[in-house]
């Protein structure tokens, strides 16, 4: 286990590495740039065009920032939810928000709504899903982790069916490819407007969760145990889930649904800093961001056409998760 003295330097190294990775990723793409060009453009912003300047400031920088924030949001959200639901197999899909948001976005594409309205619709249905999860839990008269997970599964299935229905009904020439590409996740349409749309909810929710990081340890106990320690389990868990819903809805709104990151990154982070959520949450944020930057680099360079992110996260995530499971069971046996 890490001592608290070695955690801060390690965290700084992680953050700096992720930021350097971001800068390095500015060089990568169809129009390749050298590192010195990138650094020059970053320090000399001008409106007087120039292709390199355009590529950096209007295409790659917003895109990489979005990848950082979206990946960070998913990593943080996964780590938080795994704690809150006392279960290391939980990922952000579990509370139904991803499917709800995916339905909102799909509906917006079908109706041909403006980008801003589309984001609004995504956000609205994502948060509605969480409210419905609580409504179903309320109808059962209980509000523990298991009830919430089961309600989340019900809503995920329901919204997934609605998404399929829309895909089935959509015009196969124009609308359907848009829906499919969006659902698989992409930062291809990144712009500063979307960065802002993502930044505000991510900064607010992340700040709240970061301050509550020790309380997540307490929420990871079973409800009775936590209550006996004087923790107000129900209101605290509700607040945490609302923060997670904002993170996921914001991420889906700007980049579609991206699986695996929220499941795998917390496990990787635990390998690095242990299970204490005071360390795990910030680590999962930065590792998620770094991972997503790499995924996006692959997405825009591997082939002539962009590969949807969901495909790459699954292709990387599945073997990575297998490795983690084997590693942890070996460690457990020792």
């Amino acid at each position: 286990m890490l001592s608290s003295e070695s955690f801060i330097p390690q965290q700084l190294v992680l953050i700096i590495s992720v930021l350097l990775l971001g800068v390095a990723s500015l060089c990568v793409g169809q129009y390749s740039l050298t590192l010195s060009e990138v650094l020059h453009q970053l320090t000399h912003y001008s409106d007087t065009q120039g292709i390199a300047n355009q590529v950096i400031w209007t295409v790659r920088l917003p895109r990489i920032l979005m990848a950082l924030l979206a990946g960070g949001a998913l990593g943080l959200c996964g780590a938080t939810l795994q704690g809150v639901f006392h279960n290391p197999l939980v990922d952000p899909h579990i509370i139904g928000v991803t499917s709800g948001a995916a339905f909102g976005g799909t509906l917006a594409i079908l109706l041909g709504l403006e980008p801003l309205l589309m984001m609004g619709s995504t956000f609205f249905f994502g948060l509605s899903a969480l409210i419905l999860v609580y409504a179903i839990a309320a109808l059962q008269g209980r509000e523990n982790a298991l009830v919430l997970i089961l309600s989340g599964i019900i809503l995920s299935g329901f919204f997934a069916a609605l998404v399929s229905l829309i895909q089935y009904q959509a015009d196969t020439e124009e609308v359907l490819p848009n829906i499919v590409f969006w659902l698989l996740g992409s930062f291809a349409t990144a712009n500063w407007h979307k960065v802002l749309m993502l930044t505000v909810p991510v900064i607010i929710s992340t700040a709240i969760l970061f301050q509550l990081r020790w309380r997540i340890n307490l929420l990871s106990l079973n409800d009775k145990d936590a209550k006996a320690l004087g923790v107000s389990v129900v209101p605290l868990r509700r607040s945490v889930l609302v923060c997670c819903a904002f993170l996921v809805a914001a991420q889906v709104a700007v980049s579609g649904s991206i699986a695996w990151v929220g499941l795998v990154i917390p496990h990787l982070a635990r390998l690095l800093v242990g299970v204490d959520h005071r360390r795990l949450l910030p680590t999962a944020f930065w590792m998620g961001g770094g991972f997503m930057i790499v995924v996006d680099d692959i997405a825009r360079t591997l082939m002539q056409a962009e590969i949807p992110l969901g495909i790459i996260t699954a292709l990387l995530g599945a073997p990575l998760f297998t490795f983690l499971l084997i590693h942890s069971s070996r460690r457990g046996r020792r």
Binding site: M1, L212, A226, K227, A228, G230, V275
Partner: protein, 250 residues
């Protein structure tokens, strides 16, 4: 009312219907109460009611100084270190948006030292033996700074040597630190050894409470367990032993 006291008056408790006739007893500073009774009668439910995780159906529970509990089973979903686990006991002393500070961490170290398990501080809780886990959970209850401690079958998972360690600890906490202790047990000997008072839960909603030597008698134990038990006195030992007279057919 002094801190470290717990007064229960006319308490009706249970999940929907009351399990016992109105229950009253008064645990004072420095007293140890044992709760005896058959499986499923409602010993753990009583502790849940006293901590407030289960609402009483009627009656009063008064206490000053807070109630901490050591549950019978402690399952943790993640392999937290011992210090992380004990630190969780500080939940009520750390503000909502704050993190535990050095004073909280100091309390953790003190509690571990008091129980002679300071060397386990960074060991994962899940890799400890049952006895060590029990001690860690007691340390967690100590750092809550509660003056009343409830322990749900603290000896049930322990070998005989560890049972002595925990019973000695219960006695010390009451007599040296003037806390009020209530523990449930299946062993009348434990009650006789450390409990100043006993609450004996009987089938049919009846109960008996009072000084241990007046409650833990052969007649009362027969009422409680439907089984003949003999109290045996041995030379050199202050407390009598209790032996059940099983008749096993072969």
């Amino acid at each position: 009312m002094k801190t470290g006291e717990l007064r229960v008056q006319q308490l009706l408790y249970g999940h929907k219907v009351p399990l016992f006739e109105p229950l009253s007893f008064h645990c004072q500073q420095g007293e140890v109460w044992a709760v005896l009774g058959r499986n499923g009668l409602g010993k753990s439910t009583l502790l849940d009611t006293l901590t407030g995780t289960l609402k009483p159906l009627a009656g009063n529970i008064e206490n000053e100084g807070g109630i901490g509990i050591v549950a019978q089973h402690s399952h943790l979903p993640f392999p937290y270190s011992v210090s992380d686990v004990v630190l969780m006991g500080r939940a009520q002393h750390v503000k909502l948006f704050s993190q535990p500070g050095s004073a909280d961490k100091q309390k953790v170290i003190e509690a571990l030292e008091q129980l002679n398990i300071a060397q386990l501080v960074s060991t994962p809780f899940t890799s400890l033996s049952g006895g060590q886990q029990q001690l860690v959970m007691i340390a967690r209850a100590l750092v809550t700074a509660s003056q009343i401690l409830l322990l749900d079958e603290p000896c049930s998972a322990l070998d005989l040597a560890n049972q002595e360690v925990v019973l000695q600890l219960i006695s010390d906490l009451a007599h040296r630190q003037h806390r009020g202790i209530i523990f449930t047990t299946h062993d009348p000997v434990h009650a006789l050894q450390v409990a100043t008072h006993t609450l004996l839960l009987l089938p049919g909603g009846k109960w008996l409470a009072g000084a241990t030597d007046t409650i833990v008698t052969e007649d009362n134990l027969y009422q409680a367990y439907g089984l003949t038990l003999r109290k045996i006195r041995m030379d050199n030992y202050a407390t009598p032993f209790v032996a059940p007279l099983f008749t096993i057919e072969k």
